[in-house]
C-alpha cells in the first residue's frame, strides 16, 4: 500500500512538472509556423507603405483591411486587395497553426485576440486601426 502511494505521488509530481513546463511557453518554432512567418515577413515589404499611407489598416480581430482604396493609384488597387487577402489568409493559418502546434486547437480564438491586441500595440504611429468606433489613427 505504501509503495503504491509513493509511486502514485511520484507519477503526479512528474505530471505536474511536465504540465508546468508545457504551460510556461507557447510553442511557435514549428516548420508550419516558420513558413507562414516568412511569407508574412516577405509580404510586409510591400504592405508597410500602405500601412503608412493609410490605404490599409489593422482590424481588432487580428486581420488587416483596405481602409482607403482611393489613396492607391488605380493600377495598384487590385494588387493591394490581393495583398490584403493573402495576408489575412496567412494570419488565419498562423493562429490555427500555433493552436494546433500546442495541442489545443480550441485556443485559436484566444490566440487570435492576443495577436490582435499585440499587432495594434506594436503598430507604428500613424497607422490606422479599425475598432467598433470606426477607423482611428495611432
Amino acid at each position: 500500500m505504501k509503495t503504491l502511494l509513493k509511486s502514485l505521488l511520484a507519477l503526479l509530481a512528474l505530471l505536474a512538472v511536465f504540465n508546468v513546463y508545457a504551460a510556461a511557453d507557447l510553442e511557435v518554432n514549428t516548420p508550419g509556423v516558420n513558413a507562414i512567418k516568412n511569407s508574412m515577413q516577405a509580404r510586409h515589404g510591400q504592405l508597410s507603405a500602405y500601412y503608412a499611407s493609410g490605404a490599409v489598416g489593422l482590424t481588432m480581430d487580428g486581420m488587416i483591411a483596405v481602409r482607403d482604396a482611393g489613396s492607391v493609384p488605380l493600377a495598384a488597387r487590385q494588387a493591394v486587395n490581393a495583398l490584403v487577402a493573402a495576408e489575412n489568409q496567412d494570419r488565419s493559418a498562423l493562429y490555427a497553426e500555433i493552436a494546433n502546434a500546442n495541442g489545443h486547437p480550441e485556443w485559436q480564438a484566444e490566440i487570435r485576440s492576443t495577436f490582435a491586441q499585440r499587432w495594434v500595440q506594436r503598430a507604428q504611429r500613424g497607422w490606422w486601426v479599425l475598432s467598433n468606433d470606426g477607423w482611428t489613427q495611432k
Partner: protein
C-alpha cells in the same frame, strides 16, 4: 493506514492542479509568443531594450 488520509487530499489537489493548468489558456505566454512573431514579421528593432539586443547578426 492513517497516512492514506493525509496523502489522498494532496494527490487530489495535485491532480486538479494539473488539469487546471492544461485547460486554461496561457495568456502571458501567448503575448510573449505573439510579440516574438510580430517583431520578426514587421522586423522591429528592439532599440528601446538595449540590454537584450545582440550587436551583430
Amino acid at each position: 493506514m492513517r497516512k492514506v488520509w493525509m496523502v489522498l487530499p494532496l494527490a487530489a489537489f495535485a491532480l486538479t492542479a494539473c488539469v487546471t493548468i492544461n485547460i486554461y489558456f496561457p495568456a502571458a505566454a501567448a503575448e510573449k509568443a505573439a510579440d516574438k512573431i510580430i517583431e520578426e514579421v514587421w522586423q522591429i528593432q528592439q532599440s528601446d531594450k538595449p540590454a537584450t539586443v545582440k550587436e551583430a547578426k
